[in-house]
Amino acid sequence: MRRLHALARRLLGLLLIAMVVLNVANAAGRYLLGAAIPGSDELMVFAMVWVVFVGALLVTVDDGHLGFDLLSRTLPPGGARALHVLKNLTVALLSGYVAIQSWAVLQKLDRVGQRSMATEIPMTIPHAAVFVGLGLTCVVALWLALRRPGAAQGSGRDGAERA
C-alpha cells in the first residue's frame, strides 16, 4: 500500500509539473511565436480533474481531508474507534454509490462516442477520473474501517498541517 501511495503521489507531482510546463509554453508561444498550443487549456483542465480525484483518494489514505475533527479527540478510545469505523463505512457507501453512477455515465459517453472540442480526446478519459478516484476511495475506506485499531494511526499527515 505504501509503495503504491508513494508511486501515485509522485505521478501526481509529475502531472502537476507537466501542467505548469504546458501552461508556460502556451503563454510563451503566444508572445514569441504568435500562436498558442492548440488544446492546451483543455489538456490542463483534464489533468487537473485527474489530480483532484486521484489526489483525494491519496488524502483519504492519509486521513487528511479537511474537517472539524474535534469530537473524535475528546471521545474515549472505544468511542473514537466506533466513530472511525462509522466515518469510513459512510465514505465507502457514498463513494461506492457515486462510482456506480459514474460508471453509468462512462458507458453512456462511450455509446455516443463523445469527444472533447479542441483535442478530440474521448470524453470517457477525463470523466473516468471520477469513477477511478471514488471507486478506489470506496475500497480504501472499507479497508480503513475494517483493519485493526492499532493500525489506524499514523498512516499519514494531518490535513490541517498541509492546508
Partner: protein, 428 residues
C-alpha cells in the same frame, strides 16, 4: 428537504466527517430520497464543478507558494524588512507583520506564512521583550493577512463560485490587506511604546545582526520580484491569473534551484506532489459543493432568500452586520475554502437584492474568514503555531485577544467603506 439539506449536514459536520463528505452526502441523499432526478446528475455536477479553467490557478499558486516556502524566502524577507525599518521602535514586531504580508503575496497560504514567520522570528521576539503570549498572538494573526493579499486562493474560489472577475478581486484585496497590516502595525508600536520607557530598552535583538539596506535588498530581490512579476503580468494584460500561476511556479522553481540553490530537482518534485494533494483537498470540496449548491438551487432556496430579503425591511447595513457576525463565527470552525464554497451560492442572491457590489462582498467575506483562521478555539493558524513552535495553546489564546479586536475593527471599516475595496477596481 430540511432533513437532508440542513439536519444531515450539520450532524455529519459535528461528528467530524470531512467537509467534502458532508456536502456530497447531503446532496446525494437529497437527489436519491427526495428529488425526482436521475442519480447520474451527481457525477455530472461533481465533474462539472472541477472542469473549470478558472480553477487551474489554484494548483499553480499552491505549487509556487510551496516552492517559495521551502526555499527559505521568509528569512530573506525578514532581513530586508528589518533593514528598511532600521531602528524604529518595535521593529521586530513590525517585521513580523510586514514579512507576513509579503509572504502572503508570495505564497498565498496563511498556515505556511505562520509557519515560516514563526520559525524565523518567534525566538527573537521573545528575546526582545515581547513576551510569549503577545509574540504568539502577533505571529498567528499576522499570517491571516495572506488570505486577503493577492494572489489569494480564497478569492479565486469566490470568483469561480460567484462568477466574478478574479483580477478585480485580487486588486480589490490590496488596500484592505494593507489596512489590516497598518492597523496591526499601529497596535504593535503602541503596545511596545507602553512597555518600554527608555530608548535602549526599545531596541529589538535580531539573530544574524543588521544588514545594510542595499545588501539586504539584493539578498531578497528574488523573493521581492515574484509578486511584482505575477501581479504586473496580470494587470498589464500579459497573462491571465491562470497563466500567472504557471509563471509563478516557473519563477519559484528557477529561483529555488538555480539562484538560491536550496532545493534539488527531487525536492521540487516532492513539493509538486504535496501541492497536488493539497489541491485535491480543496478541489474535491469544490466538486461536492457543486452537487450541494445544485440541490439548493433546484430546491429554490436562493430564490426564496432573494424574495425574503426583498420583502423584509433588511438594509444593506444590517445585512452586512449580521453576515459579519455569522461569518466570524463560522470562520472559527470551517476553513475559508469550504466556507466560501458553501455560503457564496446562498448569500449572493441576497447581496445582489440589497445592491451590494459582489466584488466588495467577496472582500468582506474573505477578510471575515481570514480572521476565523486565528479565532479561538479552532482557528487553523492557532494549531499551526502550536505545532511548529511547540508552545502552550493557552499562551496563544491569551495573545490573540488584542489582535482579534484590531482586525475586527479593520473589518468594520472594510465592510462599511466599500470604496476601500472598489477604488482600485476602476483602474482594471
Amino acid at each position: 428537504m430540511t432533513l437532508t439539506l440542513l439536519v444531515l449536514p450539520v450532524v455529519l459536520f459535528l461528528l467530524g466527517f470531512p467537509v467534502y463528505v458532508v456536502l456530497l452526502c447531503a446532496g446525494a441523499v437529497s437527489v436519491v430520497a427526495v428529488m425526482d432526478t436521475p442519480a447520474l446528475i451527481i457525477h455530472q455536477r461533481m465533474y462539472g464543478g472541477v472542469e473549470n479553467y478558472a480553477l487551474l490557478a489554484i494548483p499553480f499558486f499552491i505549487f509556487a507558494g510551496e516552492l517559495m516556502h521551502r526555499c527559505g524566502v521568509s528569512q530573506r524577507l525578514v532581513i530586508w524588512i528589518l533593514a528598511v525599518l532600521g531602528r524604529v521602535r518595535g521593529s521586530l514586531g513590525l517585521a513580523t507583520i510586514f514579512s507576513s504580508t509579503l509572504m502572503g503575496a508570495v505564497s498565498g497560504s496563511s498556515p505556511a506564512t505562520v509557519a515560516a514567520t514563526g520559525k524565523t522570528l518567534y525566538g527573537d521576539l521573545v528575546k526582545s521583550g515581547y513576551g510569549r503570549p503577545f509574540s504568539l498572538g502577533l505571529i498567528t494573526s499576522s499570517g491571516a493577512v495572506a488570505v486577503v493579499i493577492p494572489p489569494s486562493i480564497a478569492m479565486i474560489l469566490y470568483g469561480a463560485s460567484a462568477e466574478q472577475s478574479v483580477p478585480k478581486l485580487f486588486i480589490a484585496g490590496v488596500l484592505p490587506g494593507l489596512l489590516i497590516s497598518a492597523a496591526m502595525a499601529l497596535y504593535v508600536v503602541l503596545w511596545k511604546a507602553s512597555r518600554t520607557h527608555r530608548r535602549e530598552e526599545a531596541r529589538d535583538t535580531v539573530t544574524g545582526g543588521e544588514w545594510p539596506l542595499g545588501a539586504a535588498t539584493v539578498h531578497a530581490s528574488g523573493a521581492l520580484l515574484m509578486p511584482l512579476v505575477v501581479l504586473s503580468g496580470i494587470y498589464l494584460g500579459y497573462f491571465s491569473p491562470t497563466e500567472a500561476g504557471g509563471v509563478a511556479c516557473l519563477y519559484a522553481a528557477l529561483l529555488a534551484r538555480l539562484v538560491y540553490r536550496t532545493l534539488s530537482w527531487r525536492e521540487i518534485l516532492d513539493a509538486a506532489a504535496d501541492s497536488a494533494l493539497l489541491t485535491a483537498q480543496i478541489l474535491v470540496i469544490v466538486a461536492s459543493a457543486a452537487v450541494f449548491s445544485w440541490v439548493l438551487t433546484v430546491a429554490g432556496l436562493p430564490q426564496a432568500l432573494f424574495q425574503w430579503v426583498a420583502d423584509s425591511q433588511f438594509t444593506a447595513v444590517t445585512f452586512l452586520l449580521v453576515t459579519n457576525a455569522i461569518l466570524l463565527l463560522l470562520g472559527c470552525f470551517i476553513d475559508p475554502s469550504s466556507a466560501i464554497l458553501v455560503l457564496t451560492p446562498i448569500l449572493l442572491p441576497m447581496v445582489v437584492a440589497l445592491g451590494i457590489d459582489p466584488i466588495h462582498f467577496g472582500i468582506v467575506m474573505t477578510v471575515n474568514l481570514s480572521i476565523g483562521m486565528f479565532t479561538p478555539p479552532f482557528g487553523l493558524n492557532i494549531f499551526v503555531a502550536q505545532s511548529v513552535l511547540g508552545v502552550d495553546l493557552a499562551d496563544v489564546y491569551r495573545g490573540l485577544v488584542g489582535f482579534f479586536l484590531v482586525q475586527t475593527g479593520a473589518l468594520l471599516v472594510i465592510t462599511y467603506v466599500p470604496s476601500l475595496s472598489l477604488w482600485l477596481v476602476q483602474f482594471v
